[in-house]
Symmetry: D3
Subunit: 336 residues, 6 copies
């Protein structure tokens, strides 16, 4: 069975007209959302066709990250928008319960206390039956001092995740800094997430916290030597007695969203196949056809199948077993 | 011969008291700098001992990047500080002309026109005999909207570099964003530098511009598949007719400052040994001893020597030939 | 013939997905716009059905004002979005040249010189054959110090309008102040437009400038006594020798977008039927059905037909003749 | 009997020298106020002469709104200034208890909790015997995000008003936005006050809250059709089941400060004569002589007397009865 | 003859009502100023009585410094206010040409180019016959980075002063920093003026520039040892070859506005009686009666007469001769 | 015995490299401090040589004020830096307990609650045996609205000082306003400290609070007449019944750091020799040699010895007795 742990909901076009209306209303009133069931069904059917084309059995779908607008003001706009996204996901899952499971967007808002995002988390897990959450580590979207994941700000969220035993897919959203595209910002934020957490005591405080770092861990597996060195040097606040960096790195999970075979090999060798889950990011940066190969860029399964040193057990872990371990609520629904 | 293209000047401690006094004076007057010749000689001798320890014949030394303080106000402080750094480098080179060559710091200041940094560039090349420059692509040091290297802001500098035929080592400086350490910010800025330039026409405007990206190119060689895909997709402003990303990437040079053998292998395979120059970043993140190996972390030559697929020609290119091609002014001084 | 001088283009839903993508790209690249001809045709057909329902022969269509996002940064986003809107209008007009004429959106950007918006104005008039422009007097959209229309900032635009002899429909766009909805802000900005211009020498500088104030002139016809008084009082910088306020007011044109019969009567009596043009703002605030009357709120023609003191000549002026005088480029296309 | 519910205290000139000294002291000390009794008496006598000229029996006097400076920092300056104003009013009332009653200024300060303004409210009602308050709905004076009257921020004030059964005259103060004069801003703020309150549950929470909207309700009676329509449309957060807008509007009271007969007619027809109280705003925008009529602009009684459709009962309500119902504390002093 | 080189105009109270109206109008219109000739005459007569009381023959009067509001926005308000002040001074001088001479306020505005203040300077000197100017070295009034007098910003003003051969009385205005009262800020700004100018080449560029430092030179004569020392130390940018600080100090003039005999003695001994002019700052901080002595605090002449070491020539210089040398335009009017 | 109550620790140069590293780390990690015991001993020995040269028996040493960087962000940097300074002082005192005593730096941070600085105060007094504290009244270092010492903000610190019976040396630190050098800012802040406290009830709340004002009291003894006058005038919030200013001034202590004999005389006469303690500020502005006298500028003892009107008792008070009274914890260590 092929489980795609990093996928996004496909919305009908009118959903974006609603988004524009929400922005214009500015939180002063809640415009009615008029997405028909037929439109949702048509969008979902299109997505299933794509899944069938690349052999995916099940997608864990979350909101399109770059459309989440966590830094938009007032916060009310973000809340209403994220709720609409989660409702759309729930509607999609209800249409095809054997092909989709829900990963919840969270209304984390730049400058707001994290507690304000928790009721929507509760609703998604308890009422809508979602199995994980999407966690944007930079609610300011490139415009200000979001607390790093290592900071106390995030503890109440981590407590709730541990309580439900649901993992978080760490994935930034938009980027308004003017220096990075949102896609470039993904890599930066994933690196910050790993490095700040490994320089903190978060995993000691929350030993069962499950975090999946998108896009193969940003830059960290490639730059790992730098961080191994600094970890040992007092000048950088490190110590020869500290936990080796490469061991700490294995506290995270990673997805396979690296379109380059050499990079996937580096990832598997660096963090181990027991810490990697299959993911496609569909629909996303790779959802087009490469004129050279005739394949869509994000046909990751073909690429992974081509890596020689992986055993069958490795592939089974990456394609299915690791995801089942990570998402116990999924397991309840699709017994092995 | 082993040429280290990425190294930094070692300053005597009193140099930092001068730095503190400059900050306190706030540009309203220029405190006198009292670094004795003996102190400079002692610091240089220490550095040569380190070079001998790892087998380096020549270092191209620039200011310590994270001490450059390009975003400090008023700009006068930055100018006086960078000038003092360049003077210290010149003093060090004069003591050991066969072991050191100068790479100039530039007084690029957050929010100031780039033209204000050019007189110091001229002084370093024409009067002090330097062979390259250190280029911080983020003068705001993580606090604001530095123009990306793709923007017109930088053209006058590029023109001057092309005129002198001196390369620039792209390397960010401090980081005051509160989210990244300066060391983490290096990786982010190197990635932004590559990605913004390859989405621009800068290399068409300046075909002979020579840019070396520090630390093995940030995250780009690892995340290359993502950028190859986006380059072809109209949704991201790309086109199937665009220059393939992997070809564009070979317009840059890269250094070897990756402490991890697997990452160095990925780098060599992705950009080719003809685009990589030996560098150690000494003194920097790796200048301590690994308790496991007993070696200093930044003993890169031992690591490179251990990569099996490199030929002698490859090694000669990386250790010496590429650097000679990049730095013609160096070649004049140390004929092959 | 019934000419509706204040109407807006109806866009297919996918146009708003493009809007979201533009916002996410942040001006760093231009996402491809994929609106099919069929989708445009379907949207236009829907609009024509509405026109037929209320007896409108021709609509002068402009972008939906509150979606224009003039204060979004960087300015590049605004330019691309306004261009896309104008292209959509041109496409719609081309499908039904006898039912629609184009009124151009302008890429006026908060804080940018007005000159930057003029090339798009030229394109719309000269290449696309538009007959008027939509003028947002508050590009900051409620967030800052937009120059009032009385200020020199706007002169280059006024010169161009006079040159082409095209009128401007004064109509604000979004509002992000947190105090007003965009709809409430319309009224405020229309009032500011009138009052600031009548306290300036703009009409002396540009005697042939044609400005239509939307929504029956904001609050001014109702509050007119206040301004008549201040105009005469030295304490407010006025003078007994100044042009009487009520005469100055007749330098503007007004539309009929007032859903209340009493208010329309006040407007006609205050400014005269020779200064009012028929307008519906469709689709806009009134595009739903009143459960009490069974009529759509913005069926203004029925309301106007019910005002007893209007003569046939008055009605002909309001419905057709005044619009022909205002829009000479329209007249060329639909001879009386 | 003619009761003028919207009038302002006349201060002797030296009161403004005190204002300038308060601004200069910046809250760091409290300059002594040296206004002699004789100066106050002279100013009051002048005002009575004006009242006699237009036939007013009693004025309810409050501070001159545009001099209140609610956004001045530090807040201490505002407190001292408002206290001085209220003291001046009390002094004036004490001189002519049968001709004046006090309406209190409130030291509402931009960004400060509303609770800080309540002790002065208590002092004015309990110690000075005032009968109402002046309520500026925009303490930021056009420079920032004042909470709308619909927001929780204002509840403690509303509770206190209900407790004392004193009405509030809603009237903005200065305007520093650079876009509107303070006089223009009055109209804007009155409109925001009505629209935000009618889109809230404030009147359900405080059913006996009494609010008088100055200047005939800003733009709302004229633009009423727009708000009637939006109230019914889900797109604007409305609903066909909502309270009709025109009914909601009658929860407020309005004054007659509209210098134009047509506008007064529209007001009476729209909200009913039982919701309008006589007011002159003297001294204010209309306190000069119209060269055409030879009458002062704000001789509203003559204008109202000229409206044909008003009955004697209507006039009695507007001139006296409604004010007595609104201000029970006034009634205690001047029995009918 | 006793010439008071530091005195301020006495305005009738209604002048401050005009000030409040100017602030409220916000530059959008110019309220009419209604100060009657009788009111001006009454105020001037009061001032002459005070002069006679302390034996002053002639006052050089300038605007009340702390009311100048140089940092108020928009600049138009400052211009209109300063012009009104200068007109009031001219009116006062015209009434008593043998007792008063004019010292002009300048509309220097925070953040505006200094050139914008020069037309009013020209008007005062050429048309109104003023003899000097009042120079606020901190137009931001404690809220921001006013250029120090040593900076190029001020050169155009210095050129004009030299051209006319009129001196400037250096005297700050209001202070909105929240840390200092305006009176405390006077001392700070006078110190900054002296210290920044003596660390610059301004007196080499403008050798005939005449600057009078108010209030006996701020803190500088008392703290002189500190500056003498730093002037010689390279650490502070000084040099043993620099002009001694105490010599530089004598490039300025100073007034006698020090209410303490010991301090006046220190001043005379430190800068010499040839650099001090008699001044009273009336009306100002000292314009009240000391209960201990029964004298007004600012009866400086009595204090100076009591200093034993002064010769008759010293006193003549301070009371009259130095002022004549400083103000040649005054000399033309009152020949010795 | 000569006790120098105002002196600063002499740090080895490498201490400033640590400072630069702290700034670069930005609080994200704590770099190791590598100052060897030998380096500290060498620096201390140098200082003792200077003391012997001018005849000082004991120095009370505090951090170099202008290097304290209280406004640097994040606050963590300030805490670590101040702790390092205090540790260095403790190390120095431990080497020469009969020549040095510690005066603690406090990690007061711009915008932070004062309580955050108290644990370090406790540590210094209770664990390190310090005898006083250094108090910067402007933690914003010239860039913002530091609460004046008169404000409630500082009460918790005052309570703690009273509890321990340790005095505070009031001395500002850096200055980033762009208008004053840090040295000039010292004078400004000392004046603000005195004036704000004497216009407050702080000494009534904390009658035993001991504050020493550096540099002879800033400008206040020289400008005392001005403040005496304002204290009595209602216009400035004063009153004839208020405590005379000159009496209030004697609630403070002052040091002798005035390099000018005339100024020292003014100080002694104004505040009395019982309120002055000997201080040299070494190393500071005066630590160089005057080419004219051949003496170091800050050889204050020679200057004081030259003042004729001082008695032996006066000198004993200034040199030793007052300091013993001020610093009871010192007395315990060096019995008379």
């Amino acid at each position: 069975m092929i489980i795609d742990s990093h996928a996004h909901v496909v919305a009908p076009p009118v959903f974006y007209a609603y988004r524009a209306n929400l922005l214009a209303a500015g939180g002063r009133y809640r415009p009615a959302l008029g997405v028909s069931d037929a439109a949702v069904a048509e969008a979902a059917a299109g997505n299933i066709a794509i899944m069938d084309g690349v052999g995916t059995d099940m997608q864990l779908i979350s909101p399109r990250p770059f459309h989440q607008m966590h830094s938009t003001k007032p916060d009310q706009v973000v809340h209403w928008w994220i709720e609409a996204n989660n409702n759309l996901i729930a509607q999609t899952v209800a249409l095809h319960p054997d092909r989709f499971a829900g990963v919840a967007g969270l209304p984390t808002c730049a400058g707001a206390p994290i507690e304000a995002a928790l009721p929507e988390l509760d609703r998604c897990i308890e009422e809508l039956g979602f199995v994980g959450v999407l966690l944007n580590p930079d609610p300011y979207e490139g415009t200000g001092p979001s607390p790093r994941l290592s900071e106390e700000y995030w503890y109440p969220l981590f407590e709730r995740l541990v309580h439900y035993d649901v993992p978080a897919l760490v994935h930034s959203a938009g980027c308004n800094s003017g220096r990075e595209t949102y896609s470039e910002h993904f890599v930066t934020e994933e690196s910050i997430a790993i490095l700040s957490l490994l320089n903190s005591d978060v995993f000691e405080r929350f030993p069962t916290l499950k975090l999946i770092i998108s896009h193969g861990g940003g830059s960290v597996p490639y730059q790992i030597g730098r961080w191994q060195a600094e970890r040992l040097m007092p000048k950088f606040g490190g110590s020869p007695d500290a936990e080796p960096f490469e061991e700490g790195l294995r506290r995270f999970w990673f997805d396979t969203v690296l379109h380059n075979p050499l990079s996937l090999e580096l990832l598997f060798k660096t963090v181990g196949t027991d810490r990697v889950v299959f993911g496609t990011e569909k629909p996303g940066s790779g959802s087009g056809t490469d004129p050279k190969t005739g394949r869509v860029f994000d046909d990751f399964k073909t690429t992974i199948d081509g890596i020689g040193f992986l055993t069958d057990a490795d592939r089974s872990a990456v394609y299915e077993d690791n995801a089942r371990a990570l998402f116990p609520r999924l397991h309840a629904r699709i017994p092995a």
